[in-house]
């Protein structure tokens, strides 16, 4: 019975094979459902808008986009990646939201010398010793945002900061980035269970510790819950809250509203980033999807535009991998974030901004860029990359 099933699948697969040489296949694996699904959906929407702006043809080649949901499960993602690489033989892959998923998938994709462009998570090992000719980050290194926060806190003379992050490697990376630039004391350092819902215990600890600022890195729903409870505890008036852009993206602001007002955060892009590409992106995104884009969407859009530019540069010869790699390295496209280029580890050199949540003239909660923290900033790992 089981074997019979195999052959049914096999027969189905055969009818789909035999790809044409004159098109490009993109494999997109993202977290599209579950608690982290909001992020994957934003990236996908951004990518599809980019594809639409390219007329459905990235670099002039008819584009086949295969989209799959990894359900935020590494083993599911691993199987999807194997299928895309081995059966569908895609040219370029992208889409993964979370570091642990990418980590599971990466040996399959890069081992098969398939290009991978990360539209979000930027693991620091891939920026350093484990850098790879087929791996490109169109986003950031995982600790860039918290480096920016650390620099801001240090520059403004904060002395006693309370840190809260989930107890997982990503959280620890982020705190390491913060400490690289922030030299003051820590009023407390709390690692919570990933996916924790109620932060009463931690908020009580913060109240008792009397810090001069609270740094939070609580992605997704965790951040939403923390912000609501933070506001009710009435600490917002006395203690400034600062975080990475991931806790204050546009989707979160729209969902949480009031409690985020006034919070500071750092990111490499904002709605108001001032260049023509971004104005068009923001306007068209809102028109198409009925909501404002966030940085995840901007990264998805840039991933599509990066491919568009590189494929155009190699004149559609995507099977010439060395040429395609050089074209990707050149990053010949207009990014929504403005000035953009790749470092030798294929991670970006770009600006990071301080943003603050305000209420705009339409009554919406949005980020406003208030300062530039880093200009043409790279990452702490590039020296270890021998590429």
């Amino acid at each position: 019975m089981r074997k019979k099933l195999f052959f049914l699948i096999l027969a189905g697969a055969l009818s789909l094979s035999a790809q044409a040489a004159d098109k490009i296949k993109i494999g997109f694996i993202g977290t599209l459902s579950g608690p982290g699904g909001v992020i994957g959906v934003a990236i996908r929407d951004g990518f599809q808008l980019g594809l639409e702006h390219a007329g459905g043809k990235l670099g002039g080649l008819p584009t086949e986009l295969l989209i799959e949901d990894d359900q935020q499960k590494p083993d599911v993602a691993k199987q999807l990646a194997e299928r895309m690489v081995k059966r569908d033989k895609v040219d370029i892959m992208t889409g993964i939201v979370f570091q642990n998923i990418l980590q599971a998938v990466e040996p399959t994709v890069l081992g098969a010398e398939t290009f991978y462009i990360t539209p979000n998570t930027g693991p620091t090992d891939l920026a350093g010793a484990a850098c790879n000719p087929y791996f490109f980050a169109v986003s950031w290194a995982s600790d860039n945002y918290s480096e920016a926060v650390g620099k801001h806190l240090n520059d403004k003379g904060f002395k006693n900061v309370f840190v809260i992050t989930p107890n997982y490697p990503g959280g620890k990376d982020v705190v390491a980035g913060l400490k690289r630039y922030y030299k003051g004391a820590l009023a407390g350092e709390v690692y919570t269970k990933l996916g924790q819902l109620d932060y009463a215990v931690e908020i009580s600890q913060m109240r008792a510790a009397k810090p001069d600022a609270v740094f939070l890195f609580l992605p997704g729903g965790m951040g939403v819950n923390f912000l609501k409870q933070w506001q009710q505890a009435g600490l917002g008036k006395d203690i400034p809250l600062i975080g990475t852009g991931w806790s204050f993206d546009q989707d979160t602001l729209a969902a949480v509203g009031e409690p985020t007002l006034g919070a500071l955060n750092a990111a490499h892009w904002n709605l108001d980033t001032n260049n023509p590409t971004n104005k068009k992106f923001v306007a068209d995104f809102e028109k198409k999807y009925g909501r404002l884009p966030n940085e995840y969407a901007s990264q998805g859009y840039d991933a599509a535009m990066l491919i568009d530019g590189a494929v155009r540069d190699v004149k559609g010869k995507v099977e010439d991998k060395p040429a395609l790699r050089r074209a990707l390295e050149a990053a010949n496209f207009k990014s929504v974030r403005g000035a953009f280029k790749f470092n030798k580890n294929h991670f970006p050199i770009q600006n990071y901004y301080l943003r603050q949540v305000i209420k705009d003239d339409k009554g919406r909660f949005v980020n406003k860029t208030v300062a530039t923290i880093f200009t043409d900033h790279s990452d702490a790992y590039v020296a270890a990359c021998k590429m």
């Binding site: 109620d198 009463a200 009580s204 939403v224 969902a255």
Partner: protein, 306 residues
């Protein structure tokens, strides 16, 4: 660690425990009387939270939203019982686990279709949004204090209902000896439906109380469901008193584990090891509690029946 912080953490533990009690009370009765393992109990909690959030937005009043939401969830629960779950009472536990597991998936998909993937938010009503000064130096969010009071009131009401009234007698008889309860009345079906509806209403009340604190989102039921089960099992299946004691124990142990375990370990052990072990021990503290209880009392703290 000051005693003010200690007191505040006690309140946090109490508040968390009372919320668990609201969920565990319904679960333990359904468990004890109908002999049904209802994994979908968490879905009722989710449904309650969504309904309360939606109705509050529609009516503009938190009180009205909560009342209507609870009523709607109770009706939903009773409909579920009559249409679906009734057929599961006589099946073995394995079938019940699988069938209600399927219900969770269905509930999540349905919710996603109706409300979308974005979490809903419900803000605390203005009158309860501030903090209250309980003692000099001890301020506590008014809404969390309300939760504690509501939880205690429900516990007291349930106690009176179960211990002092005729219906309560039926319920207790049902929990300790199902056959006898069946033999006692022809209306046993009605009693089952009513108990299930009451359990659903308590779920909705928990959902309503937590909605202003937590994001109302798909899948919110699962994470709390396991805790509710742990509570029920610690207390002894079918025992309201057990659910109450179990819930407070779980709430306090979990809170203290998170609040004090890392500090205590750092004082006693080398920091590198303490930093790794602290969060781990905090996460597993309630499971350790449960295993400990079941080791000494294999049927929970307050076993019901013979």
């Amino acid at each position: 660690m000051t005693w003010i912080l200690f007191l505040e953490q006690c309140l946090n533990g109490l508040q968390f425990g009372l919320m668990l009690f609201l969920l565990a009370a319904g679960l333990t009765l359904v468990f004890g009387i109908m002999d049904l393992i209802n994994l979908a109990h968490g879905s009722l909690y989710m449904a309650g939270a969504y309904l309360v959030a939606t109705l509050t937005q529609a009516t503009g009043s938190f009180m009205l939203g909560v009342t209507l939401g609870i009523a709607a969830t109770a009706l939903l629960g009773m409909a579920l019982e009559v249409l679906l779950l009734r057929g599961l009472y006589k099946r073995d536990h394995l079938s019940q686990v699988l069938a209600t597991f399927a219900l969770i998936l269905i509930a999540n998909e349905t919710t996603r279709v109706i409300w979308g993937v974005q979490p809903l938010t419900l803000n605390v009503p203005d009158t309860l949004s501030g903090s209250v000064q309980l003692l000099p130096g001890l301020t506590y969010p008014a809404f969390r204090l309300t939760i504690i009071l509501v939880g205690l009131a429900v516990a007291a009401a349930l106690y009176i209902l179960v211990v002092k009234t005729r219906i309560g007698m039926l319920i207790r008889a049902g929990a300790s000896n199902r056959q006898m309860a069946m033999a006692m009345g022809t209306d046993i079906k009605w009693l089952f439906t009513a108990v299930f509806g009451a359990g659903a209403a308590l779920c909705a009340l928990a959902g309503a109380m937590l909605a202003p604190l937590l994001a109302v989102e798909v899948g919110m039921g699962e994470s709390i469901l396991i805790l509710a089960f742990v509570t029920v099992v610690i207390g002894g299946i079918g025992s309201i008193r057990g659910a109450f004691i179990g819930a407070i124990l779980v709430g306090v142990v979990d809170t203290f584990g998170r609040a004090f375990m890392p500090t205590l370990l750092r004082a006693a052990l080398p920091p590198s090891f303490a930093d790794a072990a602290g969060p781990a021990l905090a996460s597993i503290s309630i499971y350790l509690l449960m295993v400990g209880v079941l080791f000494w009392k294999p049927r929970g703290l307050f076993p019901v029946g013979s």
